[in-house]
Symmetry: C2
Subunit: 470 residues, 2 copies
C-alpha cells in the first residue's frame, strides 16, 4: 500500500487529540468514525483519558500496540510537530492534520517543519487546516462534518473548509452520492495532483469535482488533470476568477489565485469542465455519476412545453451544441401517437395536451432509436398529467424495455410539490433530474462537452507523441 | 373602471364553457375561482347544465341577469367568435380566451375575427391560447393551474402556457408570493405593454417578471418598459436568445424572437434586468419583492466561510460591482468581538470559529453602520453553529434593534437540512435567503444594478427633454 492509498484505505486510524467532550472536534471525529461504521481499528490518543466512546485510549501514537496506518491530528498547531515525529517513528503512512494555525495565519515555518519531519519518515501529510477526509466505500468518516454522507461515485476535493463542510451537508439533503470528500486546506504536502492520480484509478469514483482557489505548481496540476480527464470527467469550480475575487482569495487562504484569464484556457486544454457556480458543478457531477458516457449520436429534446424547449435550446447553443433534426425513423414512429399540432423538429414538442402515457412513450421511443445518442426530457406539470406517475412509468419502462439506461437521459420536471417529489424519485433511481430546464440543459451540455474535450485532448497528445517520435 | 382594470378587478365573472366534469378545464376554472375565495359574482355558462359546483348556470352570457365585467372563454376555437359577440352585446369589458386553435396552429383569420368583434364592442381580449389570470389581492384565480397561489408582490407575465402553469406551481413550493400571474399567450389584443402600464400603477405589485419569447411592436414594448422601470424593477427572461433558440421560438408560438443581439442592449437602455435563467429571475424577484430599495452606500459582505466570500465577490465583479473597504467605524466596532485572525476587509470574514451570536452580531452591526447601504450575509453550516438559531436570532434582532429592514439584506445559508429549514424561515419573514452563495450574490447584484440602470434611464430622459426644450 503506498502512502496516498493509506489515506483512502487505512486499516487502522489513530486520532491524536481525541476528546471525551461532545461538540469538540477531537470527539466528533471519533464519533463519526464509529457511527458511520468504519471496520478498521480506531485508536483515540489522549494522555488524560482511559476510554473515549467505548474505545480504549492511548497516551501517544507510539504507545499503541498494533500497526497504525493513519493519524488524524487535532492538537494545537505548536504541538503538531512532536505528534508527527512520534507517528513517523511508529511507521504511520499518512497524517491528516486538522489543526489550523499554520500558513493561513503566517506560520509557514511551523508548516514547513511538519512536512520536513514527515518526509524524514516517509510519511505523507494532508492539510493542515482541514476538516478531514471521507471515503464511503470503506465507511471512513474522519471529518468533523455531518455523519451520514450518502455513498455514490462523486469525488469532491475542497480547498475551503467551512464551505466544504457546508457542501458536505448539502450533498446529503440533495441526495448526491459521494465516494470521497477530501478537505485539502493548505496543501503543505498532498495536493490536488496527488489526489487526482489516486482517484483516477479508484474504481469507486466516476467523476471528481474540485473547489479550487489556486495551485502552487500549475504544470504539475495540469499534467495530473490531463491524465485524469482522459479517463474520467473533472469538474472545477475556480474561485477567484475576477481580480476582486483573486484579492479575496489572497486574504482567505493566502493562495495565489493566479492569472485570471489564463485558467479557463488551460482548463479547456486539459479537458477540465469549468462550472460557473457550485450548484452547476454538483448538477453536472450528479449527471456524470449516474449515467453511461455519451458516445456520439443525435441529442434529442422531448418536451411537453414549448417554452422549456426554447430555454434548453438556448443553453445548448451557448455551449456550442447544435440540435439536428430527429431521425426520420423516429418521426415516423411518433407522428401517429402525437396530437396533430405537435412539432417533430428538435425539440420534439409533444404539446401540453399529451397524457402521462403519451409523454413517457415519446421519451422511451426516442431513447430506443439507434441514431439517438442522448435524450433531454423536459416536462412542465400540467392539469392533464401527473409527474409522480410519469416518474414511476419512466423508471419501469427503462428497466423493462431497455434493461436500464444504455445512453444518457437527463430530465427536468418543472412544477409544484408533485414535481419536486418526482425529481427526488428519479434521482434516487439514477436518472439525473432537475427542477429547472436550464439546469438539465447545462448538465446535458457538460456530458457532451466532456466527450468532445476528451477527444481533443487525445488528439493533441497523439500529435505531441508524433512530434517526439519523428 | 377601464377595460384592463376589469382584468384585475372584475366585480363579476362568467365562465363560458363551464363544465360539471372534474378535470375538464371548464370545471377547474370555476373550482379555482370558488376555492381560492373570489368574492365577486361567478356565473357558469353552459346551456346543458342548471348548476355547476353549487352555482346557478346560464345558457349564454346575454341571459345572465346582472352586469358581467369579465368572461372566461373555454369553448372550442370556432365557437369563440359568437361567444365574444354575445358578451360584447352584454357590455362585458374583457374576455379571457383560454381556448387554443388560433394563430399557433395557423388560424390567424379566426384570431383576427375575435379581436375585430371585441373591438366593435369596446371589449379587450387576453389570449387566446392561455391558462388564465390570477390576481391574489382580490382572490381571483381564473386559471386551470394550481389553486392556492401565495399572495405577495411579484407580478408574473408568461408567454408560454405549459411552462407558465408549471412555474405557478413552483412559486407555491418555493413560497414566492405573487400579486398577479397573467398568461398572455398569442397576445391578439392585450400585450405586455398594456399589462406593464397597469401593473406600474398597481399598489400590490412591487416587481414584474416576464417570460418573453418575442414582441410584435418593439417600440411600444420598450416605451412601456422604460416607464415601468422608472417606478419598479422589471425582470425579463428572454427565450430565444440564440439563433437556435429563436428557431425553436418560431416553431413554438410563431413569434419572431427578433434580432438576437439587439435585445440585451435595448433591455439595458430601458432599465430592464435580463435574467439568464428562470431560477435566477425568480431569485431576483424574491429579493425585490421583500426588500426596501437600494439607495446607495457601501455593499458589505459578512461571511463565516472564506470560500463563500470569494465566490460572491466573483459574481459581483462579473456584474461590475466593486467592493469597497468597510468603514473604519465598523472595523473598530467589530475588531474586539472577532477572532484575531478574522479579516476586516470586504468580505468581512468572521471565520468558521465564530459562534451563533458572534455571527448574528456582526451582521447586525454592519446593518447599523450609516455608511453601509446593503449587506450580503453568507453562512456556511459548521459544527460550532446552528443555522436555525442564527435565523431566529437574526429575525428577532432585526425587528427589535432596527425596527425591520431599512436597507437591503440578502442571505445565503449553505449546509444540510437545518440550513434548508432556516432558508425557508428567513424567506417567510421577508429576508431573501438562498441555499447557494452565488444565487444570493446574483440577487444582490440585481438590486444594485437596478438602482444604477434607473438613474441612467432618468438621466437619458432628462437629456432628451433638454434637447426637445432647447
Amino acid at each position: 500500500m503506498d502512502n496516498i492509498e493509506a489515506l483512502f484505505k487505512p486499516e487502522s486510524i489513530a486520532i491524536v487529540g481525541a476528546s471525551r467532550t461532545p461538540g469538540k472536534i477531537g470527539h466528533e471525529i471519533v464519533r463519526n468514525l464509529v457511527e458511520y461504521g468504519y471496520r478498521g481499528k480506531i485508536y483515540p490518543v489522549n494522555p488524560y483519558a482511559n476510554e473515549i466512546l467505548g474505545l480504549k485510549a492511548y497516551p501517544s501514537v507510539s504507545s499503541i500496540p498494533g500497526k497504525v496506518d493513519m493519524v488524524v491530528v487535532v492538537v494545537p498547531a505548536d504541538k503538531v510537530p512532536s505528534v508527527i515525529e512520534d507517528a513517523g517513528r511508529k511507521g504511520v503512512k499518512v497524517a491528516v492534520v486538522i489543526s489550523s494555525g499554520f500558513k493561513e495565519v503566517g506560520r509557514e515555518d511551523l508548516e514547513e517543519e511538519v512536512v520536513r519531519i514527515a518526509r524524514k519518515h516517509g510519511m505523507r501529510v494532508l492539510g493542515p487546516n482541514i476538516f478531514g477526509i471521507l471515503y464511503t466505500p470503506l465507511r471512513i468518516n474522519a471529518t468533523f462534518g455531518p455523519t451520514h454522507a450518502i455513498p455514490g461515485s462523486v469525488g469532491f476535493i475542497t480547498q475551503s473548509g467551512a464551505l466544504g463542510i457546508a457542501l458536505m451537508g448539502m450533498t446529503i439533503v440533495e441526495k448526491i452520492g459521494v465516494s470521497a470528500i477530501v478537505s485539502i486546506g493548505n496543501k503543505a504536502d498532498i495536493d490536488d495532483a496527488d489526489l487526482l492520480n489516486y482517484l483516477r484509478e479508484d474504481a469507486n469514483t466516476k467523476v471528481v469535482l474540485i473547489y479550487l482557489e489556486g495551485v502552487m505548481d500549475g504544470r504539475r496540476f495540469m499534467e495530473a488533470a490531463q491524465n485524469f480527464t482522459l479517463r474520467k470527467p473533472l469538474i472545477v469550480i475556480k474561485a477567484g476568477k475576477t481580480q476582486a475575487g483573486a484579492k479575496a482569495v489572497a486574504s482567505h487562504t493566502g493562495s495565489l489565485a493566479g492569472n485570471v484569464a489564463i485558467y479557463s484556457t488551460l482548463f479547456k486544454e486539459t479537458g477540465i469542465l469549468e462550472a460557473s457556480t457550485v450548484e452547476e458543478a454538483f448538477d453536472w457531477a450528479r449527471a456524470f455519476s449516474y449515467l453511461p458516457s455519451y458516445k456520439g449520436g443525435k441529442l434529442i429534446i422531448v418536451t411537453n412545453g414549448g417554452g422549456a424547449g426554447v430555454l434548453a435550446t438556448d443553453v445548448l447553443a451557448e455551449n456550442n451544441i447544435n440540435l439536428e433534426e430527429p431521425p426520420q425513423s423516429l418521426r415516423d414512429k411518433l407522428r401517429p401517437k402525437l396530437p396533430g399540432f405537435a412539432s417533430l423538429k428538435n425539440p420534439i414538442d409533444v404539446t401540453g395536451m399529451i397524457s402521462n402515457e403519451g409523454y413517457v412513450d415519446a421519451v422511451i421511443e426516442t431513447l430506443k432509436n439507434e441514431s439517438v445518442g442522448a435524450v433531454l426530457a423536459l416536462y412542465c406539470e400540467t392539469a392533464v398529467t401527473d409527474p409522480e406517475v410519469i416518474a414511476k412509468e419512466l423508471i419501469e419502462r427503462i428497466e423493462s424495455e431497455l434493461g436500464g439506461l444504455q445512453k444518457p437521459l437527463i430530465v427536468a420536471l418543472i412544477g409544484g410539490q408533485k414535481s419536486y417529489n418526482a425529481v427526488a424519485t428519479l434521482n434516487a433511481k439514477g436518472i439525473p433530474t432537475y427542477p429547472m430546464p436550464e439546469r438539465a440543459a447545462s448538465a446535458t451540455a457538460a456530458l457532451i462537452t466532456y466527450s468532445k474535450l476528451r477527444e481533443s485532448v487525445k488528439l493533441r497528445i497523439d500529435e505531441l507523441r508524433g512530434i517526439t517520435n519523428a
